[in-house]
Symmetry: C2
Subunit: 686 residues, 2 copies
């Protein structure tokens, strides 16, 4: 699944420092052939597309699509009716579905259908945002950091960004203003979003329908997954008006039809320098793969201990296995000798061309060598940064909330009130899994930083990771939403006295913030400065007709419905609902969803189920509408094929494919599997 | 712990094809400074050592040490009395200790002491071997493969090796004859061992004394581990006579004292070519690290489910975590830019010197390019080879025995009888862990080979990995030793009818053998041919005063008692028993062993506990005697420091250290912690 993790999405939107650390650089022009590119709406290659596909895209078409595109947490979506109905993926709403479930009502397993509008249930914390305005603010952002280094550079830029955002939204809570880094510092754009805070669940199929084939089929094709769900945006208790919705086309496309995908690709790193790629390959990805694998093993065994364990661990395991596959695919690209050789040659060419032009050389300097030096620092800092800050808590929700509360102790009242509202929301917590995650994190921290590391000693004292995790989770009151709300108003001293988990976080937070500060100042800041120079070099040498690397901001990609051929095997672009019944073995995760089994006789097996297209997308694009030349929605993108997993670093038009569930299949499901005449009518389907 | 896995040890001794796959090449002379080298006893640098350390080593000294050195499964050891008493590590006998334990008598946790000779208990399957004779058989082995390729090459060489071995031992069951590959095919040596099949457990301390600090302290120093155990070799029901034993010296050495380590380093790969190292780095080690981590996570969670789960999983988790750390250290070396650059330069130099000499060029050809081509094949075959053959069963004992039984169906009566005797031995089986390992293996096989792979489909049918693993383990009778003995006499058809696990293995064995055959013919055979050429090139360019890569055959290393300095921090060479009490936190794995807690007042805390020396060792050396200039034993090597983990690929005299438990500490423990006057008397200690 091309899901962008919530954690990463939040980090990217929270601060420019995080964006600075994402090291995205604009793509190489030599590679920008085929259907490559995640284009911004203000720089879409209209002419190229119209020529290649015979379409008549114009600015009005683009504006309509942009206004129908919706950004939700970690995912993409679109309005598909004028009453705020939103199409996205099932896997983008499953977090909400799981939160609304309990041992008695398991909507993940059984699906959720609101029979009436009144039965539509609010998803806690869920927002929906529509991009309304794009403004170039590059000069202002860059001017702010002029002449500064390290922490001072970060602070000055962050202040400028904050000011731009504050000015643009002018305190209007209906809007969200965000400065987006593009072309790896070559450009900064202010994105102004219309924001909806009340988003309700309308429909989600059974997990077994949406995620048929589970992890084994994830990132694979042929595929038989109804990975679709509906939400609805509300405001003042009423559905929002959404006149710019995408018209629902219940027919499947044909092979060769043009397809557009509008959504929020999370992060690509297609033109990292070689030294950056090598550090990723040699240090960061291996650690992520190894640690994810151990946690995966722990959670998988935990999930087998009982029905409730299985239920509560479903979504965490799904997310973890998805991330694992993404990292594995990324590592595959970086350990492919041919791929790395191509990267090496591209970098050598750019450096040669810069060196050959004295003026350009004067302007650019040698950011490649600077970035190489930064990698040495990053190698030294990465493990403590990861264990004490970036991955601290091992994914424990209680730890994450505790840290947010502890860190708010010195904040202004408005921010504290916002935090109190957020952490004060009811959310189901599995204390077993919380403890599992904490003991995993504590034991890995001791392992990677060593027993004799002062921070490790301070954390563990005389306790074992297992005993400490048990004591913190047994003793904490953080699972109680009311307590969390109270805690968000306490002084630091009160927090320490009130709760062992808050006390633990508070006692160790100085060390965590210290390493985070070093990472920001010694890695992010010099990376930002140098990568900006690399971006400028690329603009100078290759021109500006380029797309920026993905930064979880709205992009449009184009392509066509098309299969692929690999090692002599051709994979056709479509699957049909009938294929689901053939692939089903009866064993998880290849068992039929109950409703599909029950309704087999009624279902039209000839309907196209899922399809692939050449669109260039990545994690964060999940839920993106797939749009035809007429601006109608014909599917929801939910995955890439296995070859797309290297997409972080490059696009290969012969092999990379977007996987989507067709509106045809969703329509058929709403007719004969999960009959829902209300939604069908709203979609304008007979 | 520098334990060599039993599986690897058996593979290396079982067939020359396995040795051929181990790609060991003699070390570079430029690196053979400091105290580098795992020298064979017939090519020990006597003069170098005597000059450097002022010793008076001669052939008689070497013969004495060789005759006192004992090879046991996966480890090293030595005779320390004239009545067959054997010193080795606790972690080399813990497998036996665990087998002798049950829920009522937990010798792993509580330790084992035979108060009288009658209480010494046989370790199932344990053997002890003393190397008595070394004969060069290079010409005969190489001649056998002349002009052949692929499978034919393997077959011819294996036949020659078998014949040499059979002739040399002449059917005398008291001997074991083994052809050892040295210098990566530059030399073949026939090693003749005196073999003892009745080996009994004499003493093992509590696991918490031997393995204090557990995995977190493993491969680290300062260290406080009583990693020592005693066995005794018997023959005809009586202790064997061992006049060539090493005299026990109960005094600790001093800093700077010369130290010799005699033992069986398992495997090094110090002069793999760059293409071989890169495939290891990019494919094999990542997969091993990832899969080991997931299994580790599964076992760790399983171990927390109850006391019996904790008890039975202790040794498997210990072994797995030890392997993980070794792989992690190896990967660390291969992802160190400076290390790889040095390797690259060394290879370039050798190739340049070969190219500069027309005669040599004519003789050697270009094995480096040939090996590069082999890596492409290995990349394609590795995953199916690993999943279907090399790592099949995920470590399940029942699966391993079932496969051995199925594969014996066509063998001659003698081999079948030997197998029946082996598998017919009683051994405790944890069916929970067996099922865990099978479902882990089946699910990883599906993941890495994909759902649609024909072998995966054949294996799983319509079952999930979890259901299939459950059915096989629930249904199999293989946990019953009597049944296993019977099964080893059945026809293949009888096996299939008699047991679901045997039936499962039989049904899938053709595919496993097919991929194993391809690996042998397309990877091992051409690797052997090319690597032999590389070895010849090294002999020609750098001369013959070299040590061969480790192949779990007897070697002697020299060095001195010495700490090290890393990043400004100096680590002294000794720890003292008093330090144990200071490091103990009370929490696992830093809790005191009961006997150490109980006897704190009696123990002499000033006694040297563990010490480090510059000896060049690796996994398989565990249990090796550490010997002073006078040929007395002063310790048992049980580990390397963290810097030694890259030792597979190179030795760094500034940082690599051997970690040993002192005879002084063992003596003190036998006096005041686990009082054992009988053993002390036998060791000649007052």
């Amino acid at each position: 699944m091309i899901l962008r993790s919530l954690r990463a999405a939040m980090a990217a939107t929270a601060s420019i420092a995080a964006v600075g650390g994402a090291v995205a650089i604009m793509a190489a022009p030599s590679a920008a052939q085929a259907d490559e590119g995640m284009w911004t709406f203000d720089n879409f290659p209209i002419q190229t597309v119209n020529q290649k596909y015979g379409t008549r895209i114009d600015q009005a078409w683009l504006d309509r699509v942009r206004n129908a595109s919706v950004r939700i947490q970690g995912c993409s979506a679109s309005f598909v009716s004028d009453e705020g109905l939103i199409l996205t993926n099932w896997h983008c709403v499953v977090g909400c579905v799981q939160e609304l479930s309990d041992a008695q009502r398991d909507y993940v397993k059984n699906g959720f259908t609101a029979g009436t509008r009144e039965e539509e249930v609010q998803c806690p914390g869920q927002t929906a945002e529509v991009l309304t305005e794009i403004t170039d603010v590059t000069d202002r952002v860059i001017a702010a950091g002029e002449g500064l280094e390290g922490a001072a550079f970060n602070t000055a830029r962050q202040a400028a960004v904050n000011q731009i955002q504050t000015e643009a939204c002018a305190g209007d809570a209906k809007f969200n203003c965000q400065v987006i880094s593009l072309y790896r510092g070559g450009q900064y754009s202010l994105h102004k979003f219309r924001k909806y805070d009340d988003v309700r669940l309308v429909f989600a199929p059974e997990n077994q329908a949406a995620f048929f084939g589970g992890d084994p089929d994830n990132f694979n094709f042929p595929r038989y997954a109804l990975d679709a769900g509906f939400l609805r945006a509300y405001e003042d208790g009423k559905p929002v008006e959404s006149p710019n919705f995408l018209k629902w086309n219940p027919e499947a496309p044909s092979e060769g039809d043009v397809t557009f995908v509008s959504g929020n690709p999370g992060s690509t790193s297609r033109l990292l320098t070689m030294s950056q790629l090598e550090r990723l390959r040699d240090q960061q990805l291996p650690i992520m793969l190894i640690q994810t694998s151990e946690l995966r093993g722990r959670l998988l065994e935990y999930s087998l201990t009982g029905d409730e364990a299985k239920r509560t661990s479903f979504d965490p395991i799904f997310g973890l296995e998805n991330s694992f596959k993404v990292y594995y695919g990324q590592q595959g690209a970086l350990t492919d000798p041919a791929f790395m050789q191509a990267k090496r040659e591209a970098e050598a060419e750019l450096r040669t061309r810069v060196a050959a032009d004295p003026n350009l050389k004067q302007q650019i300097g040698d950011p490649w060598t600077e970035l190489e030096a930064v990698q040495g620092v990053a190698r030294d800092l990465y493990l403590p940064y990861r264990q004490l800050e970036q991955a601290a808590g091992g994914g424990s929700q209680l730890y994450a909330m505790a840290r947010a509360i502890v860190r708010s102790a010195g904040a202004d009242e408005a921010r504290r009130a916002r935090l109190a509202a957020t952490v004060g929301e009811e959310t189901p917590i599995s204390t077993d899994m919380e403890e599992l995650r904490l003991r995993y994190w504590l034991s890995k921290t001791r392992e990677y930083l060593t027993v004799d590391n002062p921070q490790v000693k301070a954390m563990l004292g005389r306790e074992s990771p297992e005993a400490l995790a048990g004591r913190l989770i047994d003793g904490t009151r953080m699972a109680d939403a009311d307590f969390r709300r109270q805690a968000a108003g306490m002084t630091l001293e009160q927090m320490k006295a009130a709760d062992p988990l808050l006390a633990f976080v508070a006692a160790n937070d100085e060390a965590a913030q210290a390493i985070a500060g070093r990472w920001a100042a010694e890695v992010n800041a010099p990376t930002a400065r140098a990568a900006e120079k690399v971006a400028q070099a690329r603009f100078a040498v290759y021109g500006t007709n380029q797309y920026p690397d993905a930064t979880f901001s709205l992009r449009l990609s184009y392509g066509e419905v098309k299969g692929w051929t690999y090692r002599g095997v051709t994979v056709p672009p479509f699957t049909y609902i009938g294929g689901l019944y053939e692939r089903a073995t009866g064993s998880e995760p290849f068992n039929l969803a109950q409703a599909f089994a029950d309704n087999e006789a009624r279902v039209n097996k000839a309907v196209v189920y899922d399809f692939v297209s050449t669109n260039d997308i990545i994690g964060g694009n999940s839920g993106s509408p797939v749009i035809n030349a007429d601006g109608e929605v014909i599917g929801a993108a939910f995955d890439g094929n296995i070859h797309s997993l290297g997409g972080s670093f490059g696009y290969d038009g012969d092999l990379n494919r977007t996987v989507s569930v067709s509106t045809a299949a969703i329509t058929e499901a709403l007719r004969n599997v999960y009959p829902n005449p209300r939604i069908l009518a709203e979609l304008g389907v007979r």
